[in-house]
């Protein structure tokens, strides 16, 4: 990790969890958002730098069709969400990637768009993948209404009344994005072109800004339509109800391979979070503010867990674990926790590891980090990655050293018999129709000969076999000349030796592997809440629920 030499708390290293413990899918699938999550980093920066926000364009008619521009004005640069609102027949509304029309479409523009820019975007953004944006745009996205809630809120506001609070809480959003593309997709600016900007250097900041401004658009739109329908008597959404609304998101397998394709980035995300936990555990005492902040975080987690629902069997069991764990944590904090221990946070953590299921341990982690902003927020600056420097293979590495790396970091992979049906049951591939990642059943479906190289464990085991008869001092370059099929595994092993949290330490083609575990880990780093799987491979979540709105930050809102 690039910040290692600058670590102000080297003693925290003794409190770090091992990658073998952290990088298992079953635990990653219990991840919770923390104050290091990307949307939290965005909100903190905008607040600290006193960003200003306005809406210079609102050209939306009484049917909700038109365009709008929302600006976020930072100390150096301005970014603008350009929104196009459409009249979408219910029968064509689909969250899936095959959809061709949406209730609203968006692009995040770099600067303030001119009328000519808006016309160019109007000709392309509503088409999404079938259109083309430019390096002046940082993201491309679309959203669909939660029709039942949107119509309810609209009808109530038009009559001058407030919507039903329980309905709002149950759904949690007026619209949900179904894709948010950035990083060079469909003509947008490449990551490398913007990564040096301080406000965009943390991962996914442009995408988070786009979604946050989209949230403001969803409320503006429903209030606009209520005024169009109800005239003078129409009400605006009450601040309390408005605050509880986020932006929903439907997400499928498309984002799962990202974490495997970006091992250094994954390492930096995980290592920052683990270092944060270690720093808290290493504290020799508990401050009054930290204790109060921790208890407030636990209370917030309990409220969130009460409102968090899912129809999926796996998630329902996890929610039961979560609620039970939070109750046990509260009881232990009130009565059992030795706050005078040499390292009281570590004492609490160790209790949690003994007493709680994984879901409870990971929510305890998030709550422990919450009151320690001064101690850990700087780690957010270590969560991006220069992946190019990690790419070249060290051909001079002796085979003996490579063998030792595999023994140290791939023990989880080397003992598996990948010829067993259950251990190779799945294969990842790119779909012919949408060029999107998919998951196939190897023994039932065609196409396995074109599978993506996400079988990281099987590759490591094959490399281990290839090394068996090789001299210890043989350089890797010679090995790869003779056995080039091991190239990917050699690269991953060399990366993992330097970045120990780079590899998900599970068989990603096994029958029991759950892609939603990968999704939950990634989405927790985004800051997503209300993780709600609809199958083992796609989910709905909420972003920015209970976060401030642009007008709140214009006036100096609560800490993010």
């Amino acid at each position: 990790m690039s910040c290692e030499g600058l670590n102000p708390m080297p003693q925290a290293r003794n409190f770090r969890r091992s990658p073998d413990e952290v990088m298992r899918l079953v635990r990653m699938g219990c991840s919770h958002p923390t104050r290091l999550s990307f949307l939290r980093q965005l909100l903190r920066r905008m607040q600290a730098e006193d960003w200003r926000f306005d809406r210079p364009v609102w050209e939306v008619d009484a049917r909700g069709v038109g365009r709008a521009v929302y600006r976020a004005i930072g100390p150096v640069r301005t970014y603008s969400l350009v929104a196009f609102s459409h009249d979408l027949p219910p029968e064509v509304r689909s969250d899936r990637v095959i959809a061709t029309a949406w209730d609203a479409t968006f692009a995040l523009f770099d600067g303030t768009p001119t009328p000519a820019d808006l016309d160019r975007l109007a000709a392309n953004v509503p088409l999404q993948e079938a259109g083309r944006i430019s390096p002046r745009e940082l993201s491309l996205s679309r959203a669909n209404r939660s029709v039942r809630l949107f119509d309810h809120v609209l009808a109530r506001l038009a009559k001058g009344a407030q919507p039903d609070a329980a309905m709002l809480r149950e759904t949690g959003y007026l619209m949900r994005t179904t894709a948010v593309y950035g990083s060079g997709k469909f003509g947008a600016a490449d990551r490398a072109a913007i990564a040096q900007r301080p406000e965009l250097s943390a991962p996914f900041q442009a995408e988070m800004l786009s979604v946050w401004l989209t949230r403001a658009f969803t409320v503006d739109l429903v209030e606009h339509l209520a005024r169009a329908k109800g005239g003078e008597k129409a009400a605006r959404l009450s601040p309390e109800l408005k605050s509880g609304l986020g932006v929903g998101n439907s997400t499928g397998l498309g984002m799962a391979p990202f974490l495997i394709h970006h091992p250094v980035l994954l390492n930096n995300w995980m290592l920052a979070r683990e270092e944060a936990l270690a720093r808290v555990r290493a504290q020799a005492s508990i401050g009054a503010d930290e204790l109060a902040g921790f208890q407030a975080a636990l209370n917030a987690a309990r409220e969130n867990a009460d409102l968090w629902t899912s129809a999926h069997d796996i998630q329902r069991a996890k929610l039961a674990d979560l609620r039970d764990s939070l109750a046990r944590i509260a009881a232990h904090v009130a009565q059992g926790w030795d706050q005078s221990a040499a390292h009281p946070w570590d004492d609490l953590w160790r209790w949690g590891c003994e007493a709680l299921p994984l879901e409870g341990q990971e929510v305890l982690l998030a709550a422990m980090l919450e009151p320690h902003g001064a101690l850990i927020d700087g780690l957010g600056e270590c969560m991006d990655a220069d992946e190019g420097t990690a790419f070249p293979i060290n051909g001079a590495m002796p085979v003996g050293e490579l063998r030792a790396i595999l023994r140290a970091h791939y023990d989880w992979a080397l003992g598996i018999d990948y010829t067993e049906r259950a251990q190779c049951a799945r294969f990842w591939y790119v779909s012919e129709d949408k060029l999107e990642p998919r998951l196939g059943e190897r023994h039932e479906e065609p196409g396995a000969e074109r599978e993506l190289p996400l079988d990281t464990g099987r590759q490591a085991a094959a490399l281990w076999q290839a090394l068996q008869d090789q001299p210890e001092d043989q350089p890797v370059a010679h090995l790869l000349m003779a056995a080039p099929e091991n190239r990917l595994a050699v690269r991953r092993a060399q990366i993992t030796a330097r970045h120990p949290f780079a590899e998900i330490r599970d068989n990603l083609i096994a029958a029991e592997m759950l892609p939603i575990d990968i999704l939950r880990c990634k989405l927790a780093f985004f800051g997503a809440t209300r993780f709600d799987p609809r199958s083992d491979r796609w989910v709905r979540i909420s972003l920015f629920q209970d976060a401030p709105y642009p007008e709140d930050l214009n006036g100096g809102g609560d800490e993010a």
Partner: protein, 205 residues
């Protein structure tokens, strides 16, 4: 196909798109995943240097003619071996795309910390560690051609700055060929996968 950035004036791809297209086209051409990753990295390097990444890529994805080696495989082997003890071998190579050797020669320069000179007929390119390539003597970079790689100890002007923007341009015919190769690595989505990904049910919640 999901996405087609063609315009009347040609195609202009981002680095992200060049990387994805190159990886998939290389794999679709029957190369290994290891080679596909290397090809994508090399294509992006060429684009950043303002060179014809698509033309060079298509050259290396063709089976090399008799007597010539694949520049991708040759480049990978040379870059892997760059950090090994001993002098850089200064033997002539015959490859199907001298241009596609440049990114690997650049990596050799990075690994050894010394300037590397690539010579192909009248063309001379100098690669300093981390620097944009210096075209010391311009000429034809397409192949097949005989190439020499050697440490460069001659006085040279400073390497140029990396261009502000990469060269993403690719003519329609080359894009079509790369897309054709890419599609050979895709798989029709199964009904099972469709269903699990949410194809069933109503999204009007």
């Amino acid at each position: 196909m999901k996405h087609d950035p063609r315009t009347d004036a040609g195609l202009d791809l981002t680095l992200s798109e060049i990387s994805a297209l190159t990886t998939r086209a290389t794999r679709g051409a029957g190369r290994s995943w290891g080679e596909a990753e290397e090809a994508a990295e090399a294509a992006c390097w060429l684009a950043r240097a303002g060179l014809d990444w698509a033309g060079a890529l298509l050259e290396v994805l063709q089976p090399p003619e008799a007597g010539a080696d694949c520049a991708l495989r040759t480049g990978i082997a040379l870059a892997d071996a760059a950090a090994l003890p001993g002098p850089l071998v200064n033997t002539p190579l015959r490859v199907n795309s001298p241009c596609f050797l440049l990114p690997f020669a650049a990596r050799m320069a990075d690994q050894t910390g010394q300037r590397i000179r690539l010579t192909a007929a009248e063309t001379r390119v100098v690669l300093a560690p981390g620097a944009c390539p210096l075209i010391a003597s311009p000429g034809r970079m397409s192949g097949p051609a005989q190439v020499t790689l050697a440490p460069d100890q001659q006085d040279q002007p400073p390497s140029p700055d990396w261009p502000q923007t990469h060269r993403g341009t690719v003519i329609a015919a080359k894009y079509a060929r790369l897309t054709q190769l890419m599609m050979a690595f895709t798989v029709p989505t199964s009904a099972h996968s469709h269903a699990g990904a949410g194809a069933q049910g109503d999204d009007n919640d």
